[in-house]
């Protein structure tokens, strides 16, 4: 069993990784990378199927165990199954005008189909509104959490003020009295916010980026050499 659950997966990981690295350096092997990439993309689509299956499993368990809130799990499953059915069967989808006799020949996400209806009037407003809620929480967090306790916190808040005001008309109004062609035009809030982003933010982000890239390079190396096996689960 160790061979099936440890040795072979580690071998696959190492070979797949080496193929990708070689394909970047040798034109002769670039096709290997192309095939590996295509296989990966197909597996990514299967991962969507896995995600749907997992959702089905979790919520069916919740309903069968009659855990609190199981009725909402019923709603999840009904919506999931209906969306899946109308999408896979292309219910109401307009056929392809060149091949009108082929039922499945039409566009999956084209307007007018039931699948599109679910997207336009359920998925879209719900996901948009969920993210829109964050504006309220950001305001509440700003009131409760941002305290100028020390010099570093003052720097953070000061920069936030410059960016918040400089990126709107408030900045133009506040420092509009500084002539745009003068020596002090850099102190106009809209120019100052650009300067802060292009100098200080770039410097800090670049250092973070280099640090993260070094971390990714070392983690990738550990994975390819079989030193990091955490993705295989516990037991090793």
């Amino acid at each position: 069993m160790q061979i099936l659950t440890r040795s072979i997966p580690l071998f696959i990981t190492t070979v797949a990784g080496i193929v990708m690295i070689l394909s970047a350096f040798f034109p002769y092997t670039s096709d290997w990378g192309k095939f590996a990439g295509q296989f990966f993309n197909i597996l990514a689509a299967f991962a969507f199927v896995l995600g749907g299956g997992n959702l089905l499993k979790l919520h069916l368990k919740k309903i069968s165990d009659q855990r609190p809130g199981w009725a909402y799990s019923g709603v999840v499953l009904v919506c999931f199954i209906v969306t899946l059915f109308v999408g896979l069967m292309k219910i109401g989808a307009y056929p392809n005008p060149t091949y009108p006799s082929v039922h499945f020949g039409g566009e999956t996400q084209g307007s007018g189909s039931m699948f599109w209806w679910f997207y336009e009037y359920a998925f879209k407003p719900l996901t948009s509104t969920m993210f829109a809620m964050l504006a309220f929480y950001v305001a509440s967090a700003a009131f409760r959490a941002f305290r100028a306790k020390n010099f570093e916190a003052i720097l953070l808040l000061g920069t936030a003020f410059i960016v918040l005001l400089g990126r709107t008309f408030a900045g133009v109004l506040a420092t509009g009295w500084i002539p745009p062609d003068s020596a002090f035009s850099g102190l106009r809030l809209e120019n100052l916010s650009v300067y802060v982003m292009q100098v200080f933010n770039t410097a800090g982000t670049r250092a973070i980026m280099i640090g993260i890239a070094l971390g990714i390079a070392s983690t990738s190396m550990k994975i390819l050499l079989g030193i990091d096996r955490s993705f295989l689960g516990s037991g090793d």
């Binding site: 080496i18 919506c79 770039t202």
Partner: protein, 370 residues
């Protein structure tokens, strides 16, 4: 202050709920009976009528091919009168039109534009979902929980459908079963020479790995998913290692090795040229110092004392400025999303404003009366 659904509602909270719901109902009722009303979607039907057509090859009279020819409504009616409905296909497509097109049509005495009940009901459902999600701001409640359940179910279904039709069918099924795909799924595809390309047999590998991945759902077959998972992790590790080293280490290091003296662009006077040169050069110096100071801060294996400590301190200041800028931009992003939702409620649903000129009010300021 807590808005948990597990705590019973106080009478004050119940009163506020009732007032808010009543206010929304009153506004909706009032708006519905003033001017053009609100919340309707209009469509123009477009009949699509096809008849089967058999064409003979000019080189070989015995070689025929069939295709479908689109006819206008008049031509189609004439064909059906003569030949019946055999070898015909028809359906109606609906194109959404702005409400002003419908109002103009009604003013002119009528036409083909009609109210779309599915889309109008959908619009009201979208408004209900929007308000249900927003209701969580006051307190967790069944409307929010219902809306949350709907989005979870619909999203999961959506992703599965898209994954199947946009990747599995064209990139896998078309390769492994081209004739079946062409006949039943994607008629627009081209068959490979000879009907099947044997090099595509290599795509049996992702097919098998894909089914092994789904084995994760079965308790006893969970280990099967380790092979495709290993493949995914290996390819991503290989791809990212090269990509990040080239882009985020080498290119970014190259971008930091820059001239510290830069000629200013403002040549309106000698003073401005010197001043702009100082500012531009200072920017370069601050950039290089900043990157180095931040990198020194990230050296946690060296104690931050003395010169190293002071440099790390400068690095922290740069990082604080970076985080402050990130916060400012994040706020900007979130508010735009809220503005978009409020625009949906005021424009598409309540017809209170008309920035997209969908209903062409007489004047903007009195628009809601017409």
């Amino acid at each position: 202050m807590s808005s948990s659904a597990s705590e019973p509602m106080t009478s004050a909270q119940r009163a506020i709920w009732a007032i808010v719901c009543l206010a929304i109902v009153l506004i909706v009722v009032a708006r519905s009976f003033v001017g053009h009303g609100m919340g309707r979607v209009y469509v123009e039907p477009k009949p699509m009528d096809f008849v089967a057509e058999v064409t003979t090859s000019p080189e070989n009279a015995s070689e025929t091919s069939s295709s479908w020819k689109q006819l206008s409504t008049v031509e189609f009616d004439a064909y059906v009168s003569a030949n019946g409905y055999e070898d015909t296909i028809s359906w109606v497509e609906y194109d959404e039109v702005p409400p002003r097109a419908y109002f103009a049509q009604e003013a002119a005495g009528g036409g083909s534009i009609i109210l779309s009940w599915p889309r109008t009901i959908g619009l009201w459902l979208a408004a209900f979902f929007t308000l249900a999600i927003f209701s969580f701001l006051y307190r967790d409640n069944p409307f929010y929980k219902f809306a949350e359940s709907v989005v979870v179910g619909v999203s999961a279904g959506y992703w599965m459908v898209v994954g199947f039709w946009d990747t599995i069918v064209p990139n896998l099924l078309q390769r492994l079963a081209p004739a079946f795909s062409k006949d039943y799924l994607t008629p627009g595809m081209e068959l490979p020479p000879g009907g099947f390309d044997t090099t595509n047999l290599v795509f049996l590998i992702p097919l098998v790995l894909g089914f092994m991945l789904i084995g994760r759902l079965l308790p006893k077959c969970g280990w099967l998913s380790l092979w495709p998972l290993a493949f995914i992790v290996g390819t991503m590790a290989g791809l990212r290692m090269v990509g990040y080293i080239e882009s985020d280490i080498l290119s970014q290091t190259k971008e930091t090795v820059i001239p510290l003296y830069v000629q200013g662009e403002n040549t309106s006077s000698t003073f401005m040229m010197i001043w702009s040169t100082i500012w531009a050069s200072l920017a370069q110096v601050l950039l290089v110092i900043g990157v180095l100071a931040c990198l020194v801060y990230f050296f946690f294996s060296v104690e931050h004392k003395g010169a190293v400590g002071k440099t790390a301190r400068v690095g922290i200041w740069y990082l604080m400025i970076t985080f402050g800028a990130a916060f400012g931009f994040t706020v900007m992003g979130r508010i735009a999303l809220l503005a978009a939702r409020v625009e949906f409620l005021f424009d598409d649903w309540m017809w209170l404003i008309d920035p997209m000129q969908q209903r062409e009010f007489v004047t903007a300021s009195v628009g809601l009366l017409f």
